[in-house]
Amino acid sequence: MHAFKDSGHLFRLAAVFVAGTLLFLVVRSFLVPKSFGQYGHYRGAAMAETAARPVNFAGHETCETCHADVLDKKKDGKHAHVNCEACHEPLAKHADDPSAMQPPKLDTAVLCVRCHEANAAKPKNFPQVASADHSSGLPCDTCHQPHSPAISGGMK
């Protein structure tokens, strides 16, 4: 029994160690967010937080629920697969409440050249014009209907 006669300090040391470990675990449980480690070494809740942003572009399917007439105009034309908000700008607010926000009127003289101004870097098969020569400053919708731009009976 001689070997253990001064063993008291070992137990005290063990008690301090256990208390320290407990304190660490308690503090850690407060500091580490609940969802940390749910899917991996990150906060699982971060995904829902990222997903919670409001939407600005309503998406063409939403537009088409009301504006089926425009879809009809577009469907056989060259712009059939150009989504509404590619030209009309993001309109989720308008889709949310049509009276709250009216889409601004577009200026075709500015809008069309964004895509159709000739540039040597554009794919060769993409329809391009040098706007200054092509229309001498007239807005494009003088001749072309933007939703189906081919001039009927004439060239595409």
């Binding site: 940390f36 899917y39 991996g40 070494h41 990150y42 906060r43 971060a46 995904m47 829902a48 937080e49 990222t50 997903a51 919670a52 942003r53 409001p54 939407v55 600005n56 572009f57 309503a58 998406g59 063409h60 399917e61 939403t62 088409e64 629920t65 089926a68 879809l71 469907k75 056989d76 059939a80 697969h81 150009v82 989504n83 908000e85 590619a86 030209c87 700008e89 993001p90 989720a92 889709a95 949310d96 964004r114 895509c115 101004e117 000739a118 540039n119 040597a120 870097a121 554009k122 794919p123 993409f126």
Partner: protein
Amino acid sequence: MSITRRHLLLLLPAAAVAWKHVLAGTPEASPNYTMSQHWWGMLIDLTKCIGCGNCVRACQTENDVPDGYFRTWVERYHVSDYDIENPHVDSPDGGKKGFPPTKEASGKNFFVPKLCNHCAESPCTQVCPVGATFVSPDGVVLVDKKYCLGCRYCVQACPYGCRFINPKTETAEKCTLCYHRITKGLTTACCESCPTGARQLADLKNPHDPIHEFLKTHSVQILKPYMATHAKVFYNGLDGSVR
């Protein structure tokens, strides 16, 4: 293919679901979305890109990206016939306002849109010291704004230069693949606004996604494959000079 009345009717249920989320107005998580059923990527068809900058503008509006910083941008390449190793690349204001006329019509000229490649083995997430950036179970590389220290390790680690520090929040920022949209059944803002369909969101886990047919029938590449990042942004018609 033009959209017939029949197709429109088929689209209506999807639209109704999407519209409900738009109508909800307030931010919300997506109850009908199961992460394990998706594995997101993107297809970029360079033969269709016209450098209009719609994607860059759409991204900035949709995600409040500060001026002068880009989650996606468009580069213009000029490769002269005899110097394929040294392309001349420009991207004025990220291509946000389109591009000025291409001066040298000789050689090769083309546009390359860039964004986060949402690598399956992403170098940027591996260097984060606090677990603030990660590959989500549905394959999107995201940043946890609340956890990010702004240490810039990830900005340096990305081989594609897709990250930046937001000057307001001082945290790392990058393309989220419009996580707030794709989890609601919508496509990304850049894909929605692309007039030529050069950008297509792709769900690699969805067997009906047209990406599978496209990958089978086209010569598709990723950027810097030698980095073994397992990037999920696939480029069709990618020139060898693109870095």
